[in-house]
């Protein structure tokens, strides 16, 4: 299933437990790369309103990690850990993310996923392809039940409606 507006595509491949998000940006690849890899910049765009991203630490290198909190309007926090695997500057990076506690200990209550983010020049701008792979169908199911990431769905006002169905 594919949905498209202007230059934004979300493609779901359930058979391969994969979701691909593609988006064009009107900025050079170096700027887009910085926005994805520097904490001062990430904190400014990663969370949808009214949430805020609050980075505790970001060590952007192969084997490094990014630990951040999604902070809700009432100050409630959901901690997320991102482990970086492969990094090819201005081209791609791969990572995994999962929910954790405030010490960075993995929380097994919520499933994580694998990321492959590819950055390519597209005219004067940049095309970003985000490939999200879930570890199992069970994970996809749990994500469905819990909302994609706590707070995000609530922020979008859809979670209550979604939960009514279960």
């Amino acid at each position: 299933m594919t949905t498209t507006t202007k230059n934004f595509t979300v493609n779901k491949d359930t058979a391969n437990k994969k979701i691909t998000v593609i988006r064009d940006f009107d900025a050079p690849v170096e700027s887009v790369w910085r926005a994805w890899t520097e904490k001062e910049l990430l904190d400014q765009w990663w969370a949808p309103k009214p949430y805020k991203t609050n980075t505790k630490s970001l060590d952007f290198r192969e084997g490094g990690h990014w630990m951040y909190a999604m902070v809700g309007p009432d100050g409630e926090k959901s901690w997320v850990m991102v482990n970086f695997f492969k990094i090819d500057v201005n081209k791609l990076f791969t990572a995994e993310d999962f929910f954790c506690d405030d010490k960075g200990e993995r929380s097994n209550e919520l499933p994580g996923m694998n990321w492959k983010n590819v950055f390519t020049r597209s005219g004067a701008g940049t095309k970003v392809t985000v490939e999200l792979t879930f570890k199992s169908e069970e994970d996809l199911k749990r994500i469905l039940e819990l909302g994609f990431e706590p707070g995000f769905t609530a922020a979008l006002g859809n979670l209550d409606e979604l939960l009514e169905k279960f």
Partner: protein, 103 residues
């Protein structure tokens, strides 16, 4: 037993079954004719689809028909829509930021 919708639609044969009965209700025999596998194998797939509540059965005289339950499939759409909204908003934020850092 209730089964996961995502698991149910992950299989290509089951997706084909859904496509067939989306057009019209079908008997198990009519369905099986469309597939190059044993009736038993087709019937196992039907079972998974029933358990996930993607299809339901209706008795008409001596025949059983399978019908699509579109409401269940909408759950998948709804989830994707939520996911899409998240990324759309996130990327709109990024557009704003990129304008700033470009100077």
């Amino acid at each position: 037993m209730k089964r996961d919708v995502f698991q149910a639609i992950a299989d290509p044969t089951r997706r084909a079954i859904l496509t067939l009965i989306a057009i019209q209700a079908m008997t198990p025999n009519a369905l099986a004719e469309h597939f190059d596998m044993t009736r038993q194998a087709v019937s196992k797939h039907i079972q998974v689809l029933r358990e996930s509540e993607l299809i339901k059965q209706k008795q008409e005289g001596r025949e059983i028909y399978y019908l699509m339950q579109p409401k269940k499939l909408k759950e998948v759409d709804r989830w994707l829509e939520t996911f899409r909204n998240l990324w759309e908003e996130r990327f709109n934020n990024l557009d704003q930021l990129l304008k700033k850092i470009k100077k």
